[in-house]
Symmetry: C2
Subunit: 121 residues, 2 copies
DNA sequence: TGGGCATCTCAATAACTCTTGAAATATTGA
DNA sequence: TCAATATTTCAAGAGTTATTGAGATGCCCA
């Protein structure tokens, strides 16, 4: 269960343009991930030290995970942290008023296959 | 539909301890909101100028809304922006793999009443 | 209209963050 | 082992952000 400190670290990591783009790129890339070099090319060719700075910042915040594959290091999105962040932000949003947070659920579930037991609202 | 600039502004606003606490407090407070003074008391009695700085930062980022009521200014959470932020972060997360983002949906919908057409997963 | 309350604005300072470029580390293949 | 490739580490400088305290503004009621 995410705590305030972790959430602050995650939001801080996401508040920088390059890092937000990296996370979104990795979210769409899926579990296979991408190498640091390929991610760097996608960020209008940012320098390697700059990429390293941002990638380790994201890893520190728990938003991405890495593994070495030969000479490359492969990064992928940490979906558990992303889910936890959403849950932390909206925790106790209902308090007897479910209509308060259902727009957020709708926004999120609309991007997903509905065959998993989640209906559109 | 949220764009990158708005999302960066929102994440930046949420990356500061006092502001994150304010947003979460207002999320639980619901649509009626709370006055700046009452919010300040809840933030271990932060100074009025400090509260004003953070509240206007949050309003600038679209995360809270304000209205005057007599001498007080009442702030409430902007749930549309919060939902939009979640949607922006997870956009295109599925790409043929709905299991990728369904944990996030589950995390969020578990906080809500299920009688509105949203089922738990 | 005047006093008091609630909040905002402003300027100065301290602390933090990002970028850059040079150098170090790790891995692979000749 | 040597050279090439991929990535990380480090230090310096520029820019950004948070806090503080003093003062200004807006509103209400006697």
């Amino acid at each position: 269960m995410m705590n305030e400190k972790q959430a602050l670290s995650a939001f801080s990591a996401l508040s920088q343009e390059t890092r937000l783009r990296i996370v979104r790129l990795l979210v769409t890339a899926g579990p296979h991930g991408m190498s640091a070099g390929v991610i760097g090319d996608a960020m209008d060719g940012a320098s390697s030290s700059r990429m390293s700075f941002h990638l380790s910042h994201l890893e520190q915040a728990g938003l991405v995970e890495s593994r070495r594959e030969g000479r490359s290091i492969i990064y992928s999105a940490a979906l558990t942290t992303l889910s936890g962040l959403v849950e932390f932000l909206m925790r106790d949003c209902c308090q007897g008023h479910p209509e308060v947070c259902s727009p957020a659920v709708a926004a999120l579930s609309s991007c997903c296959d509905t065959s998993k037991g989640i209906s559109h609202v």
